[in-house]
């Protein structure tokens, strides 16, 4: 199967053809895929070289003239390295862009920690007004990229990954998708971790909600789910563990509830290897998830596990 990133340049190239507002800004990474689009739109496909502060600052300048910049590189160099530019050049200037990252958490384990940014969503959470899409399948990535570009002058982050679920779900750029309904807990699976969550909870009486748009969080859908399934909530996120714990707490602040935040650990593994090995090391494979979900729900009042 192709990857989300394989879809990125073709989709955005079509948007460049269709919409004269769209511009693409790159810092070498990903430029080959835009070769044809660059030939067709030399003034709207811009490669600034390996200069990530300029990447973000120039995108803000484009936005100030009325264009809709789509900015792409690895998450480490898109969100972390030029973070103050992301904060000021979009937020403080009152403008927006679509930031499209790749390889955020451990998509390239052999590349090591310099090319990992599991804290990207948590960092954006310190800022106001960002929409965050985390697709779990290439088809969803295509849909969410279109939503992101069409979102006026909003600030939107799209987190592409080589990790993918087996099948695409009908995502709409805003709402949680109910994948399964149960009565003893709610598990929110974010993006490419849905399959692992479904495998881990196959025989548990839990509601599984699928999230591909995590900011803003679909609060009404979460609250509805807790009416039948109770207020024990497990978050399974493909980035830093606990990133959305506060958002879930806020959504349920008027009722007693418990939240378990699962995700990528802070500790640097200093290991190479494969995506599967890193998922297991962070407890994000089906087995690791099951163990911790059992521990959490088993400890909860009234949580019943049907085996």
């Amino acid at each position: 199967m192709d990857t989300m990133r394989d879809r990125f340049a073709p989709v955005v190239s079509r948007l460049l053809d269709e919409d004269p507002r769209v511009a693409v800004v790159l810092a070498e990474i990903g430029k080959d895929a835009f070769h044809d689009a660059m030939a067709r739109h030399p003034d709207r496909v811009i490669n600034v070289g390996i200069r990530e502060q300029l990447l973000v600052g120039a995108a803000a300048g484009l936005a100030l003239t009325g264009l809709r910049p789509v900015v792409h590189t690895f998450a480490s160099f898109l969100v972390e390295r030029p973070f103050e530019q992301v904060k000021l050049d979009f937020g403080h200037q009152g403008t927006g862009a679509v930031l499209v990252s790749a390889a955020a958490s451990y998509d390239w384990p052999a590349g090591g920690f310099t090319h990992m940014a599991p804290g990207d969503v948590a960092l954006l959470d310190t800022l106001d007004g960002w929409t965050v899409h985390v697709p779990g399948h290439p088809d969803e990535a295509e849909t969410l990229l279109r939503h992101a570009v069409a979102a006026g002058d909003d600030r939107v982050y799209v987190r592409l990954s080589v990790q993918s679920n087996r099948q695409a779900r009908p995502v709409d750029g805003a709402h949680l998708v109910t994948v399964r309904e149960g009565r003893s807990g709610v598990v929110i699976a974010v993006g490419p971790l849905l399959d692992a969550v479904l495998d881990a909870t196959r025989d548990l009486d839990v509601t599984v909600l699928y999230a591909t748009t995590v900011r803003p969080l679909d609060v009404p859908a979460l609250r509805r789910a807790t009416e039948a399934a109770g207020t024990d909530v497990v978050l399974v996120e493909p980035y830093l563990a606990g990133t959305s714990t506060a958002a879930v707490n806020d959504a349920l602040s008027d009722r007693p509830h418990r939240v378990l935040g699962l995700g990528v650990g802070r500790r640097e593994l200093r290991r190479y290897g494969t995506v599967e090995e890193h998922a297991a090391a962070h407890g994000l494979d089906a087995r690791g998830l099951r163990e911790r979900i059992d521990g959490f729900l088993g400890a909860g009042r009234g949580a019943t596990v049907r085996v």
Partner: protein, 235 residues
């Protein structure tokens, strides 16, 4: 805000000290506040094709104040040219005032960017020049003002190194050099721009005729830098 008669009279260069005095409470100003004064005046009085009624015109020139520290001269010039009411000046820095110690484009009429954190204006100016070009707006000039110490920020060098080879000939940078960088070589500022393929000229930052000539010098196919030397900050 009430617009009073004062806003309708014509202000000249000679009024700027009084306008700045409305912000500082006296007519003595720190060097950071005044190092930019003559550059700003010549640009707004004779070079930039902008006006209070044109702040949303796509064809207007863009002036980006990147060195947002000590913005009293900037506010004074904006007030003198009718972009903001003179009545706003005495409130400088107060809770209800749109005029902060660093300018905010969302609050200040005529301000193209908010600044304060150094090294943001030139990369944004590069994007502005690119964005105008991509929309076929070949006429508007983009100007950015930075300080000599602000050039320490590496983000500027990303922008300088890109803009020369990209031949952004509608892009202009004026560096107000009051020798405030701790580590600098004489002549180094213009040389850095020239090495990246810019047109560059160094002039007396208090000489209005020299500034005007430098600002309007032709620079076909290249972005243009003007280094405006003023009295050293610590002198």
């Amino acid at each position: 805000m009430t617009i009073t008669a004062d806003d309708h009279r014509t202000h000249g260069y000679g009024d700027l000290a009084r306008l700045m005095g409305l912000m500082t409470g006296d007519e003595k100003h720190g060097p950071a506040a005044t190092s930019t004064l003559d550059v700003l005046w010549v640009l707004y009085d004779r070079v930039l094709r902008i006006a209070p009624e044109r702040t949303a015109d796509p064809e207007r020139d863009r002036f980006l104040l990147s060195k947002g520290h000590g913005p009293m001269a900037y506010y004074a010039v904006l007030a003198a040219k009718g972009f903001l009411p003179v009545e706003w000046l005495p409130g400088f820095g107060t809770y209800d005032s749109p005029l902060g110690h660093h300018p905010d484009r969302v609050l200040v009429p005529g301000a193209e960017i908010g600044s304060g954190s150094l090294g943001h204006g030139l990369p944004i100016a590069v994007g502005t020049a690119l964005g105008l070009k991509a929309q076929g707006l070949a006429d508007p000039a983009v100007w950015v003002l930075i300080g000599d110490a602000e050039l320490d920020e590496g983000s500027n060098h990303e922008a300088i190194a890109f803009a020369g080879p990209a031949a952004l000939d509608r892009l202009h940078t004026v560096v107000v050099d009051n020798a405030s960088a701790s580590h600098a070589r004489p002549g180094g500022i213009a040389a850095r721009f020239e090495a990246a393929g810019w047109s560059a000229v160094t002039v007396d930052g208090r000489d209005h005729a020299a500034l005007y000539d430098a600002f309007t010098a032709p620079h076909p196919g290249r972005p243009h830098a003007v280094v405006a030397r003023v009295e050293p900050k610590d002198a």
